[in-house]
């Protein structure tokens, strides 16, 4: 039976302080750090664990979705380095105080933040959706699944 860890919301300017306070309480190992884009908001989350016990804390910070940035915690948590690199690559979030380059999986210059909801899926825009058809020939007005209206505006 798993325990659900409560999520604690932290303001951006208190991010480092909150993480180090969690470490002072014993949760000094970064289990994972990642981001969530709900389309309405963009969050960064970190799960800090106490390796000696089953205790852990999950901290969350809401970011500005137009210019997402937050302090890097790698100076205090070296284990966060890989996670911040990946989160930067996938969501385009700048982790201040560390190098923003050395991409992991996506080639530099592709200009993508693929896990952002706004990142266009050109293949879905270009490919006719089979679900547009109907027996009566009347075409459905709504967008195909996974296609946002703003991606089709330039069509």
């Amino acid at each position: 039976m798993t325990q659900t860890t409560a999520i604690i919301d932290i303001a951006a300017d208190e991010w480092v302080a909150a993480c180090t306070a969690s470490a002072a309480r014993g949760c000094d190992v970064v289990d994972w750090l990642t981001a969530v884009d709900t389309a309405e908001s963009l969050f960064v989350l970190v799960h800090l664990v106490d390796p000696g016990s089953s205790r852990s804390e999950m901290l969350r910070c809401e970011l500005n979705s137009e210019r997402p940035e937050i302090a890097s915690i790698t100076s205090w948590f070296p284990g966060a380095d890989w996670h911040e690199r990946e989160t930067h690559e996938m969501f385009g979030i700048d982790f201040l105080g560390r190098s923003q380059t050395n991409a992991l999986l996506i080639r530099a210059g592709d200009g993508l933040s693929p896990l952002r909801k706004t990142a266009p899926l050109d293949a879905r825009v270009r490919t006719p959706w089979p679900g547009q058809e109907s027996a009566t020939g009347r075409r459905r007005q709504k967008l195909p699944p996974g296609v946002r209206a703003e991606w089709t505006r330039d069509e």
């Binding site: 999986l105 996506i106 080639r107 592709d110 993508l112 693929p114 990142a119 899926l121 050109d122 293949a123 879905r124 490919t127 996974g146």
Partner: protein, 139 residues
């Protein structure tokens, strides 16, 4: 590298570049004795079957083409598209970093076979390999 268990007379090496989950089915074929692991370096007359088993990302493409070129220097290469990802990009057909199918990666080369599945069973691979070998390299 592998050889078909049923055709030990033919030096057919299955070289699977192992991009993703389909590669596990190739391993499973080995587990079930349908393919035999081979350490020997193939000689000049060997036919190589290049089984592309998994999602091909745009970052992986140059390595895959290089692998084909290396095998092509030793002899004929038969390319098999194994599973939905190699055939069309599969569930990831719409991802900007995924190649939606290997057809265009080897210009001038035919893809000898497209094996459907997500992933296909190990038996599906071996049955089709045996068919390809028997039709192109009679015993």
């Amino acid at each position: 590298m592998w050889r078909l268990a049923s055709r030990p007379d033919v030096a057919v090496d299955v070289a699977s570049p192992r991009p993703a989950c389909c590669a596990l089915e190739v391993e499973a074929a080995g587990q079930r004795g349908l393919l035999v692991a081979s350490e020997t370096v193939p000689h000049a007359a060997t036919v190589t079957v290049l089984v592309v088993a998994g999602t091909v990302t745009t970052a992986l493409e140059p390595a895959l083409v290089r692998l084909f070129d290396e095998h092509a220097q030793r002899g004929p290469v038969i390319i098999v598209s194994f599973g939905a990802c190699a055939t069309s990009g599969g569930p990831y057909w719409d991802a900007p970093t995924v190649r939606p199918g290997i057809e265009v990666l080897f210009p001038g080369q035919e893809i000898a076979s497209y094996v459907p599945g997500c992933p296909p069973r190990p038996e599906a691979l071996v049955v089709e390999l045996e068919r390809l070998v028997d039709s192109r390299i009679p015993a």
